[in-house]
């Protein structure tokens, strides 16, 4: 075969536009493989080659397949004549091919640039997000009715692209929440003490060991569930997951409530197993960090004096019990004024859901950071 044109470039470029985190290396790698004769037996083989090189999880495959199918003309030109003819129909779905067939007729690179873009989010942002595909797919599948036909589930993919903080970033941010102390069995070599021991004894007999430094930070999450928070459940789940699994935090507790923690806090998202608020609060150690996640009325721009007073009372009790607490609000902070959120933000450091916001919340939980009473310009 000849390579005077740029095979598969339209496909590659379209994938990039759709948010696949691909670079020039990845394209050249595919060329190298194709030149060596890989993936040339039929369309399926070429499909598998590109899939191996350009996707990183199973969740990406649906989207990859759809884009691949739109570029069949281009794909077939890479294949040697004979097999291209006979195998051509295999992958082609019932869908008509899209307008880039026309573009593919021309060999110049430039003509392939104005391909349709399916992503609304900027490319830079998306490259990070592609990582969390698997979780998103699972969530999407759980959300779909179990018997939903395949065609529907492959057409719509819920990506955490809507979330301003990715799971990986979240885990990283959680790591800033740490208070170290040495506990547990002595397993780590204490160099200084060993040297002192050697100089005292005149001979090295055995190393001095000490316990490993571990993170003693305890974090408790209190999540508003249901109602106006429904769109943010995916984020709540990721917040819980990242705190429990990735952040190396100590004994995290997770509680749920609806609108305001009035009498009960629940241990499950469906809010079936309730515990009295006083009981939960009285069991919190003083150095526990409490992060509350709720829109505090900002999502619907509601202003309820009852809700404000309930939360104020709750926060008073909470602050008597623990030293560090913060509030994370899924709505951007310019949407708070006029809603209950703006009032509540005066009782507790409240941050919007964004990367700097989450970072701010974590530093508040570490006992550092802003003088929050005048955190925002609109406050006074």
């Amino acid at each position: 075969m000849t390579l005077h044109y740029t095979p598969l470039f339209g496909l590659f470029y379209h994938l990039r536009q759709a948010g696949f985190p691909l670079g020039a290396d990845d394209y050249l790698l595919a060329l190298k493989a194709v030149q060596a004769g890989f993936g040339l037996s039929d369309e399926q083989a070429l499909y598998r080659l590109c899939r191996a090189l350009w996707t990183t999880s199973r969740g990406e495959e649906n989207q990859f397949k759809r884009i691949f199918e739109q570029h069949l003309t281009e794909v077939r030109r890479v294949l040697p004549e004979t097999s291209a003819e006979s195998e051509a129909k295999e992958l082609a779905g019932p869908e008509p091919e899209i307008e880039d067939d026309l573009l593919d007729e021309k060999d110049e690179l430039v003509d392939e640039f104005p391909l349709p873009s399916s992503g609304l989010v900027g490319r830079e942002e998306q490259s990070d997000l592609a990582l969390d595909f698997d979780e998103a797919m699972q969530v999407a599948q759980a959300a779909l009715i179990k018997s939903a036909p395949d065609s529907a589930s492959s057409r719509f993919i819920l990506k955490p692209a809507y979330l301003p903080v990715t799971l990986r970033q979240m885990k990283r941010i959680w790591r800033y929440l740490r208070r170290f102390s040495r506990t547990g069995p002595p397993v780590e070599l204490d160099v200084e003490a060993t040297i002192q021991e050697v100089s005292r004894q005149g001979i090295f007999r055995q190393p001095v060991l000490r316990p490993r430094r571990t993170n003693q930070s305890r974090v408790v999450l209190m999540l508003d569930q249901g109602g106006s928070m429904t769109p943010f459940h995916l984020f709540s789940q990721q917040l819980v997951y990242s705190a429990l699994r990735g952040g190396r935090l100590h004994a995290a507790g997770v509680y749920y409530f609806h609108n305001a923690p009035l009498h009960y806090l629940y241990t499950d998202p469906a809010r079936l197993h309730g515990l009295p608020v006083e009981q939960v609060l009285s069991q919190l150690a003083e150095n526990t960090a409490v992060l509350i996640f709720s829109d505090a009325g900002a999502a619907r721009r509601s202003y309820h004096i009852d809700r404000i007073l309930q939360i104020e009372r709750f926060l008073q009790v909470l602050k008597r019990q623990v030293r560090y607490c913060a509030w994370l609000n899924p709505m951007p902070n310019d949407r708070w004024p006029g809603s209950s959120a703006a009032e509540i933000a005066r009782f507790i450091p409240m941050f919007e859901l964004s990367r700097p916001g989450l970072e701010g919340a974590i530093s508040a939980l570490r006992g550092q950071g802003h003088y929050w009473e005048k955190l925002y310009a609109w406050m006074r």
Binding site: P21, L22, G23, D25, D26, L29, K32, A33, A36, F38, G39, A45, R48, L49, R51, A52, L53, T55, T56, S57, R58, E61, S127, D128, A130, L131, D132, D134, E135, Q138, Q141, A142, K146, L167, R168, K171, L189, T194, V198, I203, F204, R205, P207, R245, G246
Partner: protein, 295 residues
Amino acid sequence: MTQLLNYTGQKQPNETETLPPYLPASELVEAVNLAIYLERPLLLRGEPGCGKTRLAEMVAFELGLPYFAWHIQSTSRAKDGFYTYDAVRRLHDVQLVAAKLNSALNPERPEDYLKFGPLGQAFLSEQRPVVLIDEIDKADIDFPNDLLLALDENRFIIDETGVEVHAQQKPIVFITSNDEKELPDAFLRRCLFFYIDFPGEEHLLKIVKAHLPDSPAELVLAAINRFVRLRDIMRKDKGEAGKKVSTSELLDWLWALLRDPEAMEKLEGPLPYAETLLKTRIDLQYRQLIERTQP
């Protein structure tokens, strides 16, 4: 040199060897050869028990290459795969020599206190080595990134001696992941990706025949049939993400069935030896449902 290596997946260990047989799908064989040619690590994902871990060993077996396995634990550090350095023993030896208790030791040679890990050994191998990094997602989230430089440039530095070790031959790297933690983007980009699908009924039959060549065909067919239906029910109920019965569990189950002279009759009734297939409380609740899969 590199083009000559071609994995076929056909060569199986004979009875004198301890390795069990392994039958990869043709797509997987294709991906292995692509990874060998492009000199990129092959990242394998798939359900537990689908044969991710065994592939590397079988590739090494067929191609006659040295095989190094590194099973990752949650405390594994990237450096441990290359080498560990026993500073305490060196200090200990210095004392013994100074006190003239043992003159055979020479603690002035730091290289005596080095121990190479699986990757370090692979780098020293004269032949092209096959390396398995098993369950990479168990380690810390920064672990894969720490491996990148070494895998990209095929070298690592021993800090204690200042020696830079270069790979004699570019290793063929297989990495398995159970998706417990998501892997960093930069790392994923350098890997080829392959998802090992659950084998179809025909392929299952081949696998079973390879493992249990003397088993009665009638029983194997009936068992696979029952197994596939059980799996379908589990998939429908739990979705793609849930834990389903795997190939390795099928083999365990067949072992149990083969020893039972009445296995054929039992397969007609309630699921026999269910404990080899259903292992969680939820699965056991499925039993009721599963009973309905009786022929």
